[in-house]
């Protein structure tokens, strides 16, 4: 599990030109190992979705991306643009939040899954049909033979998300990126889709990069968690130590503020203040205005990510001081 499939180094994404560019992702580095499920958790404006899109080189044209995105030894940011389509869908699959806007309403779902195979592999039609049916079974589509000729609007949200997953897995990608795959779904349907993702991981040994705002979903399926806030990584740890021993005051506050089914607290813990809009905090730690343990240094200098226990990185001056 130690070999990195995806290694993101010093990734920065900026919009706008001149002396005041809007920096939505600020110098972040993390890796996803083979077969590992990594969650990026963040609130609005944290840069989590931009990070995911940048891996597929799908950020808007106006964005300036710097750093390295090394996938299987190649820096994707240095590849000529025309080589990206061969990677998208083949090496890296993607599931988006709203499947209806990602599926073609005028094509049957059988044709859409078939297209995903045809684009990357040269195999005869009857075999492709077999693969399409196998994929639909994999994602738990009931009665797949009869559903091949159905159109996306004939499916519910949960079923569309299964179709998306079938397309994403069509060429057995090594990495699956899922951006808020269950956010638009009802609780009982979300449980179905999460179970499907666990099943996919078990069968294909794919690595998964899951983007979410929901700590419950992260706890459910991720092995490692990257916590982002206002474009920065504040904490990066394996899931168990993050949930039992969060070290960054933001992560700690977030975990304490989430209502759970079994807690009997009268009042919830609350982090004061509001989430800063993307790119508005220029210097120092972006969480400082809301932080209860902030120090003078936090206003001037962004704390670097420092390793505490093996595999547990935290960017916080107060944490560093407490550990010293």
């Amino acid at each position: 599990m130690s070999e990195a499939l995806l290694d993101i180094k010093d990734l920065t994404i900026e919009f706008g030109s001149g002396s005041q560019p809007l920096r939505v992702v600020d110098n972040i580095s993390f890796a996803v190992s083979l077969g590992e499920t990594v969650g990026i958790v963040g609130e609005s404006g944290s840069g989590k979705s931009m990070t995911a899109l940048s891996v597929l080189r799908l950020v808007p044209e106006a964005a300036r991306v710097s750093g390295q995105i090394i996938f299987e030894g190649r820096d994707l940011l240095k590849l000529p643009k025309r080589e990206m389509p061969a990677i998208r869908g083949k090496e890296i699959g993607m599931i988006f939040q709203e499947p209806m806007s990602s599926l073609n309403p005028l094509m049957t779902i059988g044709d859409q899954i078939d297209e995903a195979i045809r684009l990357h592999e040269d195999i005869p039609a009857p075999e492709r049909r077999k693969r399409v049916l196998a994929l639909l079974r994999l994602v738990g589509m009931p009665d797949p033979e009869n559903r091949l000729s159905a159109y996306p609007d004939q499916f519910s949200g949960g079923m569309r998300q299964r179709v998306m997953a079938a397309i994403a897995m069509a060429c057995n990608p090594k990495l699956l990126i899922a951006d808020e795959p269950t956010t638009a779904l009802d609780v009982t349907i979300q449980a179905q889709v999460l179970a499907m993702m666990l099943d996919i991981r078990a069968r294909f040994n794919s690595s998964i990069l899951l983007i979410t705002h929901d700590l419950g979903v992260v706890a459910e399926i991720c092995e490692r968690v990257v916590v982002m806030y206002a474009g920065r990584i504040l904490e990066d740890a394996d899931a168990r130590s993050l949930f039992s021993n969060a070290r960054h005051p933001y992560t700690q506050g977030l975990l304490r503020s989430v209502p759970t089914l079994n807690d009997t607290r009268k009042r919830l813990y609350q982090i004061p203040g509001s989430v800063p809009p993307a790119g508005t905090i220029k210097a120092g730690c972006p969480f400082r205005p809301r932080c209860s343990v902030r120090m003078e240094r936090c206003a001037v200098e962004m704390p670097p990510l420092r390793t505490y226990d093996p595999g547990h990185r935290v960017a916080c001056w107060a944490t560093a001081e407490a550990a010293a």
Partner: protein, 333 residues
């Protein structure tokens, strides 16, 4: 606690309003034979998945839409039988907080005008000075600086806008507030602020509260009692303690077990329901939940289970109602 609102056999059917040619779509039974009471000063939560009729129910209670059948009795008055003038006076006593704080505030108006609008409409402000003083008081009450009153909503974050929406709702000292998913559009770190604020205000002001939500964990914090809806019907209702410790309806049990919890060591026997919620225009016969229910038997197809009281304060609509304790144990480390 005495009864504030008595809901009797409330139902709402929407029919296809389109003028196009061809066959009409079948009518949608959004709310079906719903009866319960809301006590003075209580917080009641309505929980269910999309399409279960929870928002329609909230709007029916406020008479924002007219019921197809049944009654809503508010302080002893049947809302269907009130005159326009009476209803207008009653409106002051019932207010609403919406899900989307962006869509529910006019972008062109200043905060002071947005918050004062209900007071203006009931002639509760005598002078400009008094109006500003009242708005300043309300802003402080919801945790915003009173100097914000001359700004426009776009200058605020989602959480701040929801505070403005809440200030507006409490401005006329209502006895009843319907909050429709008031925190589900907010960032995680902001949700707790708004939940705490609503709890504090309810304690301070003593209004009754109908809290509509899909998230059972959020409800646990705010509600005294919980009603679970499925396809337009209440399937289970009870005190918070009763519902969370041991639901009696298999749907409530499935909802509780499906909610992801922020604890990777929690061991739970997850129940994953098969299939989707059926369309409310084609509700299954008998028990509406039977097509997804792990316990379904013949009787569930033939006979609609009535909502019956199985212990004080607790009603369940299931032929096989029985305690289904949920374990939230933590695994031994």
């Amino acid at each position: 606690m005495s009864v504030l609102i008595d809901i009797q056999g409330l139902g709402k059917t929407f029919s296809d309003p389109s003028l196009r040619l061809g066959p009409r779509r079948p009518p949608v039974r959004a709310v079906d034979q719903v009866s319960f009471q809301i006590l003075r000063g209580e917080a009641l939560a309505i929980v269910g998945e999309s399409g279960c009729g929870k928002s329609t129910l909230g709007r029916l209670l406020l008479q924002l839409i007219e019921p197809s059948e049944g009654k809503v009795i508010f302080e002893g008055k049947d809302l269907n039988k009130t005159t326009k003038a009476e209803m207008r006076q009653l409106r002051r006593k019932m207010q609403m907080v919406f899900q989307d704080p962006f869509g529910s505030l006019s972008p062109r108006r200043k905060v002071v005008d947005i918050i004062a609008e209900p007071m203006d409409s009931f002639g509760m402000t005598k002078s400009r000075k008094e109006r500003r003083e009242k708005v300043a008081e309300l802003l402080t009450l919801v945790g915003l600086p009173s100097s914000y009153m001359d700004r426009k909503p776009r200058q605020f974050s989602g959480g701040q806008r929801q505070r403005i929406g809440i200030a507006r709702a409490i401005s006329v000292d209502p006895m009843f507030i319907v909050a429709d998913e008031p925190v589900s559009a907010l960032d995680v770190s902001i949700q707790a602020q708004i939940i705490n604020l609503m709890q504090d205000l309810q304690e301070k002001k003593g209004f009754s509260f109908l809290f509509i939500a899909h998230d059972l964990a959020v409800v646990r914090h705010i509600a005294d009692r919980v009603a679970v809806m499925y396809l337009g019907r209440i399937v289970e209702m009870g005190t918070k303690e009763q519902i969370y410790a041991a639901p009696h309806h298999p749907y409530t049990e499935a909802l509780l077990s499906a909610a992801p919890q922020p604890d990777p060591t929690a061991t739970r026997d997850r129940i994953i329901l098969k299939g989707d919620v059926p369309s409310p225009s084609n509700v299954p016969s008998g028990c509406a939940f039977r097509t997804r229910c792990p316990l379904a038997a013949d009787i569930c197809r033939d006979e609609r289970p009535s909502l019956r009281e199985i212990e004080p304060h607790r009603t369940v609509a299931c032929h096989f109602a029985a305690p289904r304790p949920i374990s939230h144990r933590r695994a031994m480390a």
